[in-house]
């Protein structure tokens, strides 16, 4: 097919639209088994994906479901529905379009399974759920195309892995299914193509014209950035000027907490009362939707936001993107910049605002990377096995299956192409019996083999539980925040339970840009009142702290290695020059360590440039080694570029500390009992179907019936350390929060070249580290001591001491 039907093309030309070359190519490739389209925002990407569908359906002969559209966001599905309906309704085409998400009413969902529309717009989770019903074959009968939007975002998460596994099921039901992926600019299109295709099918890559290079610069401010911190409060006046000079500005932040603080300060300085909104993932949905709507109507001059605005919803006329804080990842930055200016072939405009002095260097590195089109690589590991376990359970819900068939099916997903049969069998065994070293209670196993060798659920009632636990999104323990005394309690958003636990009545914190006062906890809801009289204690959100990518770190090292820095502002180049004069600057092929006394403590600053998570892990491992060597470490703090350790003894012989094998051994021992592992375990155990996910409202009652997943972790660690879930947990932790691979990379990059610089006092580059937040004390018995001290004080204060004793 190379043409669109006449009525459609007339409709397009009546609006002055002409097909872009990439849209034409998507039409030409309509029958290819898999096609990946890479196009910038505003290039008519979605229409390109749907044109072959509309052309097919315009004939009016197709029965049943024709095209599935899958996006990571519910809102996106609703948006697309509106956009598609315009031509369909105006031309009176015989095409039924519906969406199906977690918000779709039960009755409609049931009807959709029996009588699906021609085009169904849905999310990965809703699709997985659809495949779990015994009537899936009927629902998907006749399906021709599946269009996956924002596939670059999905490919970085387990939601994407779940989606690709669900597609293997669809492909088995509909062998001629064509797959289309729509992606923003990525560094390695081939990787996404392999991810998308039914392995080993080929996948064509269609590249739209990327448009002109973005107009991106560092914001000029009269005041120099501070030495440390992430708030960028110094830049508020300059940012406000930019907002005034543009129509609509998006102000991106790396964390929700930073967005809250910045918004608060921006609002205080907003003397002209410009309409400015805030948007991040912890805000109440109603609040977020209000901001989204106001923005689409063009009523807002600026939105202070986080990654929650990253995906491709149509935001109307954004003409400036400001990134506060160094972009930790060039790809994300490029995608954010793409939000500015939706007119195809017009340059997007963006400003970078370093939050502190070192970030000036990082921002410069990012600028150079964007201009060179050098995007960071995404780590792509093998398909996660906890998601596979869930897929096996979902498959079992739909009816009996042969292990060999399912194995063949899942290995057609690119991420699982290298899965071995033994690995698959271990997952199947886990789903069936738990897969424990100790075989017990096998009469109750979850999946059992029938006489013909196929597998089925022992108890069909288990389907309900499996469907309820479907999905891979991990929610931290969040508590709703509501205004007290207002009718029903106006919802403001959510905070982590751990943060709420640190609050006492009268404490204040920021949420949704306002300072509120903590009143108390009632039925798992944080009750607050309005109160602006105190300096807020800042809400700590779980929003991942992104580590600077390997590529950006390498560019930073290259900048530092230069003889002089004409591209950097004077305040920063002077600082670096001073550092070189009194100490040294790291080179890419060596590990620089400074050692100096400060406030009666011996300090060591290790410039690893391995990213925040890895530097944090390095701090934990090194202090543990130092403890063993009697160097009496007292604490450490980590940033993206260095780890600063203080203690009673100086490091004089660093070589043995950085022995890779010793670090690896230390990691095994330290990791096992660590909270990071317990968190990773909880995620894996929930996805794999060992524990139920928190159901909304399910925690009010019967709390004593459920117990912490930490107990399961401790039990497995003691009695069954080689269990599948322990293996998955280690893999996850090493890849994610622990980021040990970056430490390995660092050791390999420097090839044991360690330069120790003993100094008489703190160096210019190390000084900001002393101001960093997030200092980690080395404890052990410390928690017990603190608890004891506090309980004694409480008993004394309350007058209870001696009463019961």
């Amino acid at each position: 097919m190379t043409q669109i039907p006449a009525p459609l093309s007339t409709w397009f030309s009546s609006r002055g639209w002409a097909l872009h070359p990439h849209q034409q190519e998507m039409l030409t490739r309509a029958r290819d088994p898999a096609t990946l389209l890479i196009a910038p925002t505003g290039a008519g990407k979605t229409m390109a994906g749907f044109l072959p569908t509309l052309a097919d359906l315009a004939e009016g002969t197709h029965q049943g479901l024709h095209t599935l559209y899958i996006s990571p966001l519910k809102a996106l599905a609703a948006d697309i529905k509106r956009n598609l309906r315009a031509p369909v309704e105006e031309l009176d085409l015989p095409i039924r379009i519906e969406d199906r998400t977690g918000d779709t009413p039960q009755s409609k969902r049931r009807r959709q399974r029996a009588d699906p529309p021609h085009i169904l717009l849905t999310t990965p989770e809703s699709l997985a759920l659809l495949t779990s019903y015994p009537d899936a074959a009927r629902t998907f009968k006749g399906l021709k195309r599946v269009v996956i939007d924002e596939i670059h975002a999905l490919a970085e998460s387990k939601r994407g892995d779940q989606l690709m596994l669900a597609l293997t099921r669809l492909q088995a039901l509909c062998p001629d299914l064509c797959r289309v992926g729509l992606s923003a600019t990525v560094e390695d299109p081939q990787r996404i193509a392999q991810y998308l295709a039914c392995h080993p099918d080929p996948c064509a890559i269609v590249q739209a014209d990327p448009g002109p290079a973005p107009d991106i610069t560092m914001l000029q401010t009269t005041e120099a950035p501070p030495w440390a911190g992430g708030g960028a409060a110094y830049a508020i006046p300059a940012v406000l000027e930019q907002i005034k000079a543009h129509k609509t500005t998006l102000v991106f932040h790396n964390t929700r907490a930073q967005a809250e603080i910045f918004f608060h300060n921006l609002w205080l300085a907003n003397d002209e009362a410009l309409p400015i909104g805030i948007h991040h993932g912890s805000l109440d949905r109603v609040q977020r939707e209000r901001v989204e709507t106001a923005m689409q109507r063009g009523e807002l001059r600026a939105i202070v936001c986080t990654g929650s605005l990253d995906l491709g919803i149509d935001w109307g006329d954004v003409d400036l993107v400001i990134q506060i804080g160094a972009p930790k990842n060039v790809k994300r930055l490029v995608q954010r910049i793409g939000r500015a200016n939706h007119r195809y072939n017009a340059p997007s405009k963006a400003l970078l605002v370093p939050a502190n002095r070192f970030e000036v260097v990082e921002c410069q590195a990012a600028l150079e990377a964007v201009l060179a089109g050098d995007l960071d690589a995404s780590p792509s590991g093998p398909g996660p096995r906890d998601v596979l376990c869930q897929h096996i359970l979902i498959r079992a819900c739909a009816g009996p299956f042969e292990a060999a068939d399912l194995f063949a099916e899942v290995t057609t997903a690119g991420a699982y192409a290298n899965l071995t049969r033994a690995q698959f069998d271990a997952c199947l065994e886990f789903c069936a019996t738990g897969g424990y070293a100790l075989k017990r209670y096998d009469q109750w196993q979850r999946l059992q083999q029938r006489s013909d060798g196929s597998w089925q659920l022992r108890d069909p009632r288990a389907t309900q539980r499996i469907r309820m636990n479907l999905g891979t999104i991990q929610d931290a323990d969040l508590l709703k925040v509501r205004l007290k005394h207002s009718r029903g309690g106006k919802p403001l958003g959510e905070v982590e339970e751990a943060f709420a636990a640190t609050l006492t009545a009268g404490d204040t914190f920021l949420i949704g840009g306002r300072v509120v006062r903590y009143e108390g906890l009632r039925e798992m809801t944080v009750q607050v009142s309005r109160n602006a009289s105190k300096k807020p204690k800042i809400a700590v959100f779980s929003g991942t702290k992104f580590a600077t990518s390997t590529e950006l770190s390498a560019r930073v090292l290259q900048i530092l290695a230069k003889g002089n820095w004409p591209d950097l502002p004077g305040h920063t180049s002077d600082w670096l020059a001073l550092q070189r004069q009194v100490s040294d600057l790291s080179r890419p092929d060596e590990l620089l360590i400074e050692s100096f006394p400060h406030e009666a403590r011996e300090h060591s600053c290790i410039y690893g440039f391995a990213g925040r998570n890895a530097q944090q892990t390095l701090g934990l491992l090194l202090t543990k080694r130092m403890e063993e060597l009697g160097l009496d470490p007292l604490g450490f703090v980590a940033t993206d570029y260095a780890t600063l350790i203080w203690g009673l003894q100086p490091i004089t012989d660093p070589e043995p500390l950085f022995d890779l094998q010793a670090l690896r051994d230390g990691l095994e021992g330290w990791l096992a009992g660590n909270a990071v592992m317990k968190r990773a375990f909880r995620g894996a155990a929930t996805i794999a179907g060992l524990i139920d996910r928190n159901q909304p409202g399910g925690r009010k009652n019967g709390r004593q019936a459920t117990f912490s997943s930490d107990i399961l972790y401790d039990t497995l660690r003691k009695y069954d350390p080689d269990h599948l879930l322990m293996d998955i947990t280690r893999e996850e932790a090493l890849r994610g929060l622990v980021d040990f691979s970056r430490i390995e990379e660092m050791v390999e990059r420097t090839r044991g070249q360690i330069t120790l610089r003993p100094l008489s006092r703190v160096s210019p580059l190390a000084a900001p580290m002393l101001l960093e937040r997030g200092r980690v004390p080395i404890k052990g018995a410390a928690e017990e001591k603190l608890l004891q001290r506090e309980t004694e004080a409480l008993m004394a204060q309350s007058g209870l001491k001696g009463l019961a004793q």
Partner: protein, 230 residues
Amino acid sequence: MNAHGGYGFSLAGATLTALPQGALWWQDQALLCVSDLHLGKSERHLRRGGAPLPPYEVEETLVRLEALLDSFAPQTVICLGDSFDDDLAATHLPPELKQRILDLTQARRWIWIEGNHDPAPTEFGGEHLPEFHLGTLVFRHIAQSQLQAQNEPQGEISGHYHPKAVLRGVSRPAFLLDQHRLILPAFGTYTGGLRSSDPVLSDLMQPKAIAILTGSQALAMPMPRQSRRG
């Protein structure tokens, strides 16, 4: 605080110790009391269509209980009810674990108090009672909301609620104690907890109640309560 890291107190004239492991020790009677072992939890969970939890919790609970029996050598042991996750879970225990429990109950006086999960007598020896009186103390599974007025002071020892208390963001199983009653934390490995701030517990315990956190040492603090409205 005493040698075992326990917290000593008196209830209705009896001198008792809340042990950091979550058990109660009555020195004068050489009596050890534990509550809510929930043995067989993973079996019952699976039987009722739940996921296959690691089947090691009975061993783990027994290991901890045996360690206490070794160090305190009690003449009497009271299990305060919900010792088994249900009656079938007791029946379905594998033979070697049944024998292990039997060995424990035969070596000393052993009292099983009936719980709401395990009302029927067990096949593991020992005595099976709805409640047990000794001196000024009464042992039962669920605390009575109104303690009857007695001529002599009487203290009630119970379990059932799996109380927990939170301090500095750390949540731990805890004993709850006031002038008339003590509620024990759950001893079983696979047990969650109910926060002391839950209305049920706040209503049950007197205003001056204390919570005794378990852990590496028993730590007493004023019982965290539901924050009042207003």
